[in-house]
Amino acid sequence: MEATKKHFFSDMNVMLGRSMRHIFRSMDTIITVTIMPIGFMLLFVYVFGGAIQTGTDNYVNYLLPGILLIAIASGISYTSYRLFIDVQGGIFERFHSMPIARSTVLWGHVLSSLVSNALSVVVIIVAALMMGFRSSAGVLPWLAVASILMLFTLALSWVAVIAGLSAKSVDGAGAFAYPIVFLPFISSAFVPTESMPPIVRAFAENQPVTAIVEAIRALLSGQPVGNDIWIALAWCIGITIVAYIFAMRAYKKRV
């Protein structure tokens, strides 16, 4: 035990370096991840946007937070895909037969997921800027936005670990992300919840995406964030903890 704990950070470093190489050698995955959200953004701004009443004069500003969440939700399917490939390919077993801090095998994937999703988020923000996104927010609100997005990515990355460890096929490893990608559509990401029928509205107002979207939107537009930011943080941390527990269970089954 002692020997392997001592090497945690050095092992972590090696695992992270490995995952980052995977990501930088498949930059096309970043593009794949960003194309769909950017497509949605174009569609909603230039096709549906005129008909949607949000009470803001700049619909890109309104839309961007939800688009970023969609990007992250689809980005993490690559995290589970990469983990699945490790498990199938045998390198997972090789690592486990070695005297290393075992948890770094998973943390390497989770941390590199944070980096690759941060890249996608930057690409999408650049696209949004070109479409007229503007924000008056200062450094602190931006840092708060970055933190919320990081926590959201962390939470979903651990969900991705569960999928990567327990999937039976490559398709299965990625498919868990679809419902999560869909969640922003039943939230205040595209239209205000007031326009929805009561049941849908109740769901929309009480699911995590709405709180996260509202918090980010308020931060970026310099409005008071109110309770939304705490609800958003509670969701992210709660999901992280639950997903982590289930990921560890799936992991114990594997080793």
Partner: protein, 253 residues
């Protein structure tokens, strides 16, 4: 002192209803080459996984390099290395990066030096900076083997190291295994090929229906057969000898 690298007593393992190992006993002497023979599905890989701490046994005990696999798995991992049945290499990294990664995970002081030596030894110099995804099957196997030698572990597990290799690559693997044993490393290998066990192993054990049904040196195993009759037959070259003669491999005797 401990003279056995591996000591296995009454090992049992089932997958749900399927009893794969009923009661397996054997010992592997330090510095020897031990071959575990068995047909498909006999449970060879299962034994390897248990001894390399990847799988927990249902019953029985085993010590590896003097450490109990259940209570001291970290010490076991410290002193062994595994080349699994299917190549366990990172396809996206280059061969060199794969080796450096393993050297760093073994916390060696000079990962680059170790890597360079292994690349030369395995004749991978030209391919070292290519992504492993572009390697042939034999090159995959060689890299896989090289990764297991990083850090000179005392005991190496090779699960069917030559399955899927052409005869030439097979002889190369045999040569490496012999060199390992000569330098004092204990080698535990599984195989389905009788001639492989015959060529390499000091000790052979045959796994059948969840038990070791026979074990010993080649000479001892031969004694189990009825006394040999002397017959005169014209010796035909084997296909392997013909193949090797035609492609002019030096190792071919």
């Amino acid at each position: 002192m401990q003279n056995n690298s591996i000591q296995v007593k009454g090992l049992q393992k089932s997958y749900n209803q399927l009893h794969v190992l009923n009661s397996v006993d054997f010992e592997v002497e330090q510095g020897s080459i031990f071959a575990l023979l068995g047909s498909n599905g006999a449970g060879k890989t299962t034994i390897v996984k248990i001894l390399t701490t990847l799988l927990k046994q249902d019953g029985g005990t085993a010590t590896v390099n003097g450490f109990d696999i259940t209570s001291k798995p970290d010490n076991v991992r410290q002193s062994i290395s595994l080349t699994g049945q299917f190549a366990a290499v990172d396809e996206i990294l280059t061969g060199e990066e794969n080796l450096i990664m393993i050297a760093k995970l073994r916390h060696l002081k000079n990962p680059h030096q170790v890597t360079d030596n292994l690349i030369k030894r395995f004749g991978l110099t030209d391919a070292a900076n290519r992504r492993v995804a572009t390697y042939s099957g034999g090159m995959h196997r060689k890299l896989d083997l090289a990764m297991s030698l990083v850090g000179k572990p005392q005991l190496i597990f090779l699960d069917e190291p030559t399955t899927g290799l052409d005869p030439e690559a097979r002889l190369e693997v045999w040569k490496i295994v012999k060199e390992l044993a000569d330098s004092g490393t204990t080698v535990f290998l599984t195989t389905q090929y009788l001639d492989e066990a015959e060529q390499l192993a000091d000790q052979i054990a045959i796994l059948h229906e969840g038990r070791i049904i026979a074990s010993g040196t080649l000479a001892e195993l031969k004694k189990l057969l009825p006394p040999t009759k002397v017959e005169y037959v014209e010796k035909q070259p084997t296909l392997e000898e013909i193949f090797l003669a035609i492609i002019g491999t030096k190792e071919a005797k």
